[in-house]
C-alpha cells in the first residue's frame, strides 16, 4: 500500500503542475513582441552568453558536501540501533567521526572553506 501511495503522490505532483499550467494557458491573454522575449536585464541589451565559466568556490563546497552527505547515509543505520550496540558501537562511530573531522580540519587548513 505504501508504494501505491508513493506513486500516487508523484502522479499528484505532476498532475497538479500540468493542470495549473493548462488552466493558466486557457484563460490567460497572449501577446507577442520582440522586446518581451529578450532576457531580463535592467532595460539594456544583454552582452555575451549566460552559460559561462563559473567561480570555482561553489564547486569546492559541492565536493565537501558530497563527503559529508555520504557520511550521513552511513550514520543513519547506526543511529537506529545505538541503544542496543552499547559502548562498542559508540567507540566504532567515534573512530569513524574522528576520521571525518580530520578531513574537515584538513580542508579548513588548506583554505578550502575560505571564500576568496
Amino acid at each position: 500500500m505504501n508504494f501505491t501511495m508513493l506513486v500516487t503522490v508523484v502522479l499528484t505532483a505532476i498532475a497538479f503542475v500540468a493542470i495549473v499550467v493548462l488552466l493558466s494557458w486557457l484563460i490567460s491573454p497572449r501577446s507577442y513582441n520582440e522586446q518581451k522575449m529578450e532576457p531580463y536585464e535592467c532595460g539594456i541589451p544583454t552582452r555575451g552568453g549566460s552559460w559561462m565559466k563559473f567561480r570555482v568556490g561553489y564547486y569546492l563546497f559541492a565536493i565537501l558536501f558530497l563527503m559529508f552527505e555520504v557520511e550521513t547515509v552511513f550514520l543513519f543505520p547506526w543511529a537506529v540501533v545505538t541503544r542496543d550496540l552499547g559502548v562498542a558501537g559508540l567507540m566504532g562511530v567515534l573512530f569513524f567521526l574522528f576520521i571525518l573531522i580530520l578531513g574537515l580540519a584538513y580542508a579548513w587548513r588548506k583554505g578550502a572553506l575560505r571564500w576568496k
Binding site: 505504501n2 501505491t4 501511495m5 500516487t8 503522490v9 508523484v10 499528484t12 505532483a13 505532476i14 498532475a15 497538479f16 503542475v17 495549473v20 499550467v21 493558466s24 494557458w25 484563460i27 490567460s28 491573454p29 497572449r30 501577446s31 518581451k36 522575449m37 529578450e38 532576457p39 531580463y40 536585464e41 544583454t46 552568453g49 549566460s50 552559460w51 563559473f54 567561480r55 568556490g57 561553489y58 563546497f61 559541492a62 565537501l64 558536501f65 559529508f68 552527505e69 550521513t72 550514520l75 543513519f76 543511529a79 537506529v80 540501533v81 545505538t82 541503544r83 550496540l85 559508540l90 562511530v93 567515534l94 567521526l97 571525518l100 573531522i101 574537515l104 579548513w108 572553506l113 571564500w115
Partner: protein, 358 residues
C-alpha cells in the same frame, strides 16, 4: 487519541462492498491525491496571509486590510491574478529544462508534504525509513532550482541558482545531522513510531541539552534551506532582481512562490514531529486532571498548532535579522554548525548509551 485508521478502514470496506478491489484502491488513490492538493493550496494561502500580517506587525504596519475582512481575500485575489497572466518562454532559454524545473520543485515539495503525520492514522506515506526518505525527497528541490537558474539564459538567474545551490546543500548537512541526533534518541526512523514513542514525553524534553542544541541548529538550517530569513540572498531583490526565477512569468513564478511557502511549513512540521511530539498532546507527569483535559484536544489541532508555532518562530527570525553575505553564510555552516552538530551527535550518543536521558 482518536485513531483515524478506523475511518479509513471503514471507507475501504464500504468501497469494497461497492466495487472490485482494484477499483476501490484506484478511487482511494484519487481521493488522497485530491485531498493532498486541497490541503496544499489551503496551507499556501494561510501561510502567505500569515507572512504578510506577521511581517506587517514586525514593521509596525497593518498589512493587507482592504480586500475582505482584515484583508483575508487578498491572497486568493493574488492567486487568481497570477493564474490569468500569460506564461511565456523568453528567447534563448533551454526550453526542456526551463519547463521541467517547476515539476522538480513541486515533486520534492509534495513528496515531503505527504510524509507528515497529521494525526494518528492519517499519514499518507509511512515507510520504515520515513525520516531518511523525507530528507532524500527534500533534496530533489535543489535540482529544480539549479535547472531553473541554468536554463533561463539570464545572468541574474544563474548567480541566484548557484548561490541557492551552495547554500541549500551546505545547510542540508546540519539539518540532517540535527535530525540524526534525534533518531539516535528515538531509536527508529519510521515517522509514526517516532511520534507514538513520544507519548511519555516530547523528544526535546527527554533529550534535554543535546536535543535543545539540535532544535536550534535545525531552525537555523531550516530557515536557510527555504531560502528565507537572513539567508535569502539567492533572491536578494536589490542585487539579483528575483534570483533563479527571474525569467518565469505568471503561474511559472507562482509555483516557485508556492513551493517556497510550503517548504517553510514542511520544515516547521518536521521540527514539530521530530522535536515537539507530532500530534501528541502536552502531558505533565503528576498532573492527571490537566493531562486528561489535554487529551480531549484532537491530534491534528495539536499538530497544526505546533507547526504554526514553529512557522511563527521562523518568520520572527526572518524579519528580525539583516541579510548575510555569501561568505558569511558558508562560514557559519562549515566552521560553526557542522562541527557543533557533530559534537552534539556524539554527546547524544553518549547520553543514550549511558541511559542519561529521561
Amino acid at each position: 487519541m482518536f485513531d483515524f485508521s478506523i475511518v479509513t478502514n471503514w471507507i475501504h470496506e464500504w468501497l469494497l462492498s461497492l466495487m472490485p478491489e482494484g477499483w476501490a484502491i484506484f478511487v482511494e488513490c484519487v481521493a488522497v491525491g485530491i485531498g493532498i492538493i486541497l490541503l496544499y493550496a489551503l496551507l499556501a494561502i494561510i501561510l502567505i496571509f500569515m507572512e504578510r500580517k506577521v511581517c506587517a506587525a514586525f514593521q509596525c504596519r497593518l498589512g493587507p486590510t482592504r480586500v475582505g475582512p482584515w484583508g483575508t481575500i487578498q491572497v486568493i485575489c493574488d492567486v487568481l491574478k497570477m493564474l490569468t497572466k500569460e506564461i511565456f518562454t523568453p528567447k534563448g532559454v533551454d526550453k526542456k529544462l526551463y519547463n521541467l524545473a517547476p515539476y522538480m520543485i513541486l515533486l520534492a515539495s509534495f513528496l515531503t508534504f505527504a510524509c507528515l503525520p497529521v494525526s494518528k492514522g492519517l499519514e499518507v506515506l509511512d515507510f520504515n525509513v520515513g525520516i531518511f526518505f523525507l530528507l532524500a525527497a527534500s533534496s530533489i528541490g535543489v535540482v529544480g532550482i539549479l535547472l531553473a537558474g541554468w536554463s533561463s539564459n539570464n545572468k541574474f538567474s544563474i548567480i541566484g541558482a548557484m548561490r541557492s545551490g551552495a547554500q541549500i546543500i551546505s545547510y542540508e548537512l546540519s539539518a540532517g545531522m540535527a535530525i540524526l541526533t534525534m533518531v539516535v534518541l528515538a531509536g527508529t526512523m519510521q515517522i509514526s513510531e517516532m511520534v507514538s514513542g513520544q507519548a511519555s514525553g516530547w523528544l526535546i524534553f527527554t533529550g534535554h541539552i543535546p536535543a535543545l542544541i539540535a532544535f536550534v541548529i535545525y531552525l537555523i538550517a531550516g530557515n536557510a534551506e527555504c531560502n528565507r530569513g537572513p539567508f535569502d540572498l539567492p533572491e536578494a531583490e536589490s542585487e539579483l532582481t528575483a534570483g533563479y526565477h527571474t525569467e518565469y512569468s505568471g503561474m511559472g513564478f507562482g509555483f516557485f512562490y508556492l513551493a517556497e511557502y510550503l517548504n517553510l511549513f514542511i520544515v516547521a512540521a518536521i521540527a514539530a514531529t521530530v522535536f515537539l511530539g507530532g500530534w501528541m498532546p502536552l502531558h505533565i507527569p503528576g498532573l492527571d486532571g490537566f493531562n486528561t483535559v489535554m487529551d480531549y484536544i484532537p491530534g491534528f489541532v495539536w499538530y497544526f498548532g505546533k507547526a504554526f508555532f514553529v512557522v511563527f518562530l521562523m518568520m520572527w527570525m526572518r524579519w528580525s535579522f539583516p541579510r548575510l553575505r555569501i561568505d558569511q553564510i558558508l562560514a557559519l555552516e562549515w566552521k560553526y554548525l557542522v562541527p557543533i552538530s557533530m559534537v552534539n551527535l556524539l554527546l547524544m550518543a553518549v547520553i543514550v548509551t549511558l541511559g542519561w536521558h529521561f
